[in-house]
């Protein structure tokens, strides 16, 4: 029993972190078609922001609740800068955004290595995250629960934004046909910038969560980027629902694999699982059909 429950709970938390990392991508990649390989570094920026917030206001109970919106804005602004400086010229060749942003990610990593102590910095867990909650006889760490609650909150906010404001429609319209959107009266540049801001900001939020789970250093982003892309792809591009399910499934699979084998093999198996899945369902869990030939 315990052997089955523990990985399920652990995996759910891992999935939640993965979801947080993937959520911003589901906007910038899923909705806008930009393959932002620097997303992991935006996550890193969020984590460093949490550290700086704790330096300024102390590592008290409020530090994390304060860090979350600040990280959203800071990472969002970095995203905005990237959009304005580079991405805006590349919407017509989306595959190339992948390569450009690889360059951006290299630069951000090296900059972080030189600006902050190379060993990384501490982000302290506030005391209200100490301890565990007993679930089905298993002590579930509060910090894991926090990640899950945060992920649910972000998903809900994002879904509401896309669904209940006209904005969601505008993003989708802009991505599908820029010229047509423009001539339908949509200020596509504003839409682009805002979307990229939000997507990058979500990476910042994920970074705060990640800073509570692992190290905050120049390399931290690299471990999230590929799994996050896989999750978005497996979920079906542009499909929030699919992203959620895929993230959770990958998290749980990782946890079970890690329980049965080693941490390294678990990584390999999880990758293989997603690759095989994508092979079977190349369009992901949920798909959009079109008739268009090209």
């Amino acid at each position: 029993m315990d052997a089955l429950i523990t990985p399920l709970l652990n995996g759910s938390a891992q999935g939640a972190l993965l979801l947080l990392a993937a959520l911003g991508l589901s906007l910038t990649f899923g909705q806008m078609g930009v393959i932002n390989m620097a997303h992991g570094e935006f996550l890193m920026i969020g984590a460093f922001t949490a550290y700086l917030v704790q330096q300024v206001i102390g590592a008290g109970d409020l530090s994390i609740p304060v860090a979350l919106p600040v990280a959203f804005v800071v990472a969002g602004l970095f995203g905005l800068l990237l959009e304005v400086a580079i991405i805006q010229w590349m919407y017509r060749r989306p595959l190339d955004t992948l390569l450009v942003t690889v360059g951006v990610s290299l630069i951000l990593q090296q900059a972080a290595l030189q600006i902050f102590p190379s060993q990384g910095v501490p982000v302290e867990k506030p005391h209200w995250l100490d301890g565990q909650l007993n679930v089905l006889g298993y002590d579930w760490p509060l910090r894991q629960l926090f990640t899950i609650v945060l992920a649910i909150g972000c998903v809900a906010a994002l879904a509401a934004w896309l669904k209940y404001t006209a904005f969601g429609r505008r993003i989708r319209a802009t991505v599908q046909n820029r010229d047509l959107a423009e001539t339908s009266g949509i200020a596509t540049r504003t839409v682009d910038r805002l979307t990229f801001f939000a997507g990058s900001g979500l990476a910042g939020v994920a970074g705060v969560a990640a800073s509570l789970i692992g190290g905050t250093n120049s390399q931290m982003g690299t471990q999230y980027i590929i799994p996050a892309f896989l999750v978005v792809a497996a979920g079906g591009i542009g499909q929030l629902k699919g992203t959620i399910i895929a993230a959770w499934a990958v998290g749980v699979a990782l946890a079970y694999f890690a329980d049965w084998t080693t941490g390294s093999l678990a990584q390999v198996l999880a990758f293989i699982l997603v690759i095989v899945f994508l092979q079977l369902r190349p369009q992901g869990l949920f798909t959009v059909r079109t008739r268009s030939l090209v």
Binding site: A166, R169, Q176, L180, T183, S184, G185, R189, R289
Partner: protein, 227 residues
């Protein structure tokens, strides 16, 4: 309402328009063979491409450097060539998108759904799954929602069934009567001239003929366009 004066434009190094001036009029028809530069001219009018020289003036304001959405906000509307729609949005969303933020948005959408029964029937279908003609109807509906002062139409009847072609033609005539300006590219020369106050014939990016509209002009234009 719209004045295009001595505009030059092209794509990359290719010049497509060489000093084109479009006559002023309530309904202006642009005629010409394939590749003459008609679409290019309309893209320039709406702001999708910028002229390398020349001016675009709308309603007394120089809009040459404005983005398309700013021109839309000033009362232009555009139906591009080629049955374009936001394929992943539903028919209804395609319309709502344009109505968003406008006063009485829902009523505006409903009015267009009433005009095009096919759209009403497939309101919930992804626009990408519509037939070509249905998509073209959707494109026209999208333009009409904004109650524009100037309607720019690029071959609006291409691929549309005759009954609806007739209806669209009627609509254009009616809109013109209501005081809306129209810049029209059409291959149905007969209809185009019937509706037009002024016309211009393009050939290889140059104006070869201009004149007043009306059915009488048909034969002169046909002669001018004969290869």
């Amino acid at each position: 309402m719209l004045e295009l004066t001595d505009v030059e434009a092209g794509y990359g190094r290719t010049r497509v328009l060489h000093g084109v001036t479009v006559p002023v009029g309530r309904v202006v028809a642009v005629l010409g063979h394939n590749g003459a530069g008609k679409t290019t001219l309309l893209r320039l009018a709406i702001g999708l491409i910028k002229p390398s020289s020349g001016r675009v003036v709308f309603d007394g304001e120089d809009v040459t450097s404005l983005a398309p959405n700013q021109r839309i906000a000033r009362g232009m509307a555009y139906v591009p060539q080629g049955q374009q729609a936001f394929s992943q949005l539903t028919t209804l969303e395609n319309l709502q998108l344009v109505a968003d933020g406008r006063r009485g948005g829902k009523a505006l959408v409903d009015a267009q759904l009433a005009r095009f029964p096919a759209l009403e029937q497939f309101a919930a279908r992804k626009a990408g799954l519509l037939s070509g003609g249905q998509r073209q109807q959707l494109a026209i509906a999208r333009a009409l929602i904004t109650s524009p002062k100037l309607l720019i139409l690029d071959e609006p009847t291409e691929g549309i069934q005759p009954t609806i072609v007739a209806e669209i033609e009627q609509t254009i005539v009616q809109l013109a009567a209501e005081g809306i300006n129209v810049l029209l590219v059409e291959q149905h020369i007969g209809f185009a001239l019937e509706a037009a106050e002024r016309y211009v014939v393009l050939a290889s990016g140059r104006v070869t003929q201009t004149g007043d509209g009306g059915a009488a002009a048909t034969s002169t234009v046909r002669a001018a366009m004969a290869i």
